[in-house]
Structures are given as C-alpha cells and as structure tokens.
Subunit: 235 residues, 2 copies
C-alpha cells in the first residue's frame, strides 16, 4: 500500500531542460565563427562532466562550464562582452517564469488528501526553492528535499529521515537514472513520466523495465494508483 | 532546559572566510594595472550584492561576481586566460582541505551524548556537503540542514519540521546576523562565537547583547551549558 508519493521537479512538474537547450543554442551561435556546432556542443558537454565534481548540477555550474568552453574554443580570444553575454544567459534561466507541465496541478490536488506528497529534486538549492515558490505548488508538499545527487544512498537517507518504509513509497520522475532505478533498487515503487527530451547525462541503456511503470503524462497517475490499490477484473 | 544544539558550519566549525579574503587579494592583484585596490574591492562587493538574488551565497556565485567585476573594471578588455584564472581561484576554494577551528572535535564529542546536535549552514549544497564529509564531523550530527538564507522564518520552519520547541533549542555561530538574532527572536537561545574576521555583509550595528552570550571559543561551551543547567552559588 502506497502512503508517500515523491515527485521530481524539473521536467516532471515544470519545464526545465528546454531552457538549457535554448541557452546552448545561443552559446553555439556565439562561437559559430570559431568552430562547427557539433564540436562546440561536444566540448561543452566535456567541460560540464569535468566540472561536475567541483560545481555540481544547476545553472551556475552550467554558466561556468560555458565560460570555460568559450575560453578553450577561442584559445583565449573570447571577449569580455561575450563572457558577460554568457552570464546573462544564466541570469535569464534563473529568472524565467515557471511553466507548469500539463495535468500537474489537478493531479497533485487529487492526490493530496489520500497520500503524503513530497518533492525530491536535484540541483541548486536557491534556484529550486525559488522555482517552487514561483510555481505556487509548495502547498501540496509536506516535505521538500533538494539534494546534490540522486542515488540509492540518498533516497535511503531521505526515507530513513522521514521514517518511510520503502514498501509504502512511490517515486515519480522523468529520469530513469535518477528517479526510477535508485527507488526500485531499494524496494520502493517508481513511475517514469518521460519528458520530451532527456539530457545525455541522464541516459541509461538496456533498462530492465519489468520493475517500473511508464505513464505518458501525470494526469494518468490517479487512475493508475486506484487500479493498484483495488485491481478489478477488467484490468 | 536545552535539548537540541545546532551549529553553524563556516567559520564556526571550520575556516571559511579567509579563503574568500585570499581569493579577493589574488583578484585585486590581477586588476591592479587598471584600478586601485579599494575601488576593485568596492565594485566586487557591489556586484556580489547585485547578484545575491540571482545566484545566492557560495563559491560559484562569488566566482561569477568576480568575473562580472573584471569585465566591468577593464571595460571588457579582460582576457580569456585571466577569466580562466578567476575560475581556478574558485576551484581551489572548493577543493581545499577542511581546516577545523580549535576545540571543535572535543566539544562535539563532549556534547553528543547529552544533546541532539544539528548542523544548520547557509550556502552551496554540494560544497557544504563535501566539506562536512571531508571534516569527518558528520557522525556527530543527527540532522544537517543546508539553507539558502538564515532568517527567522527559516529557523521556524526547521524547528517545526524536527518538532523542536524553541525553548529547548540553542543555536551556535559566528554571525550575529544569521545565527544569533533570528534564533533569539523566535524564543530560542543563542551563543555567539566570533571568528577572527566577519564579512561586511554579515555586519550588524547597535546589537542588543542582553539576549545572547558571546564565548571566545567553542571549548568554553560545555562549561557554559553545565552552568546554565545547574547554576552554583559561586557563579
């Protein structure tokens, strides 16, 4: 019996990834005189991966990686105003209005009386808090956890801290790697709700899909839960 | 009767501020051909304050503010390698070994059996978690809260979440503004343990010191607590 449902935030409740893709497009445009776009994109991703241990996830890390890539790819010739333009890309990302994904509000409203709802999100603390506040969704969640990484140990610690039995826990998110697999491997349930695009870093291959469910959108969740709790012959 | 003691981390348990001061000195040195040091420092602080709402506290924000200041003060002539050198200052700050302040370990060890100990720290999530892990102090704390801001509302939320009565709560830290005053104003106790230097942003003037205690170092805390709980005639 599920008692606690935790939601990922970025690209599960609201749009996020496409702001990164848009900023990358502007960034590639800026360096187009120096290199072809595929190479710029490849070097930027290499810089992000190299910097993950120093800077972690989030917009500020992404901006610093774009700046390093611009310096590298122009052999140091990138100008002050170009660097400033990269920083402005980041400020715009941090300040954009929160665009909710379809069915989010009615699904949370439908579930809040029957389940304890949590938010578990990875990234920059201030940015995640600010987006939650702008979204107005904070009233639905009894707990909000912003974490620097989403692996089995982190989920285990969160469940322990909130005294939640994994057998009563359901995790919902758009990332198989960060939301689904770690929850499944500690004995909880997980529902994958894919976003239109997935960051290459979150890709996993050859996933065993027998242990979790994929739903096309969040609006299908209440019915799936109802079926889970009182399965009928028709199913 | 105190049951829960929460500690600030940066400049309360381990050195932090002087890494910022050292990085600022290197930064001023870099721009010394363009402006005098006092002006560089003033513009950097203005940039940090302007960016606080976008980027929050922590090393990555500081690096982005240094980069903006360098672009501004050189009228865009700052070079790619100079920007890269600023980013390296940040990476060094994030990777430095944790230098514990005096008396920290023995004080935590002395208190851990009698009180529930917590860590409440402001700043970058990944950086704070990494410093706590490097310090080896995590075993003393039953809860760790990394917050984006330290005001009365945040403390109130933390106490509510952990079901702590303010009358049983003691906050310890080096910042009167962030650690002491918000705790006192919600009815808890606070002990101020000053660090050798205070960032200008954390300065407060005309503080009413009747509602909190200042101790010269953390080693004095167990005796102060013992006195608080069973005052003797000698005191």
């Amino acid at each position: 019996m599920i008692r606690v449902i935790a939601f990922d935030a970025d690209d599960t409740l609201w749009h996020n990834e496409h702001y990164f893709r848009d900023a990358e497009a502007s960034f590639r445009q800026m360096l187009t005189a120096y290199h072809d776009e595929a190479w710029i994109q490849e070097r930027l991703y290499a810089s992000e991966m190299r910097n993950l241990g120093h800077f972690g996830y989030g917009v500020k890390s992404f901006v610093l990686s774009m700046i390093e890539t611009a310096i590298e790819l122009t052999e140091g010739r990138v100008s002050g105003p170009e660097i400033q333009a990269i920083i402005e890309l980041g400020k715009n990302m941090l300040g954009h209005p929160v665009e909710m994904l379809p069915h989010v509000v009615e699904t949370l409203a439908a579930l809040q009386d029957r389940y304890r709802l949590m938010l578990i999100t990875k990234g920059d603390l201030l940015d995640q808090e600010a987006k939650l506040a702008r979204s107005g969704l904070d009233r639905y969640f009894s707990a909000v956890e912003v974490v620097s990484q989403k692996d089995e140990a982190i989920y285990r610690a969160i469940l322990a801290r909130h005294a939640i039995d994994p057998a009563e826990f359901l995790m919902i998110g758009n990332s198989v790697k960060s939301d689904v697999l770690p929850a499944v491997s500690l004995g909880a349930r997980a529902v994958h709700v894919p976003y239109i695009t997935t960051w290459i870093h979150e890709h996993v291959e050859d996933v065993d899909t027998t242990h979790f469910t994929t739903l096309e959108h969040l609006g299908l969740l209440p019915e799936w839960l109802a079926n889970l709790e009182s399965p009928t012959k028709e199913d």
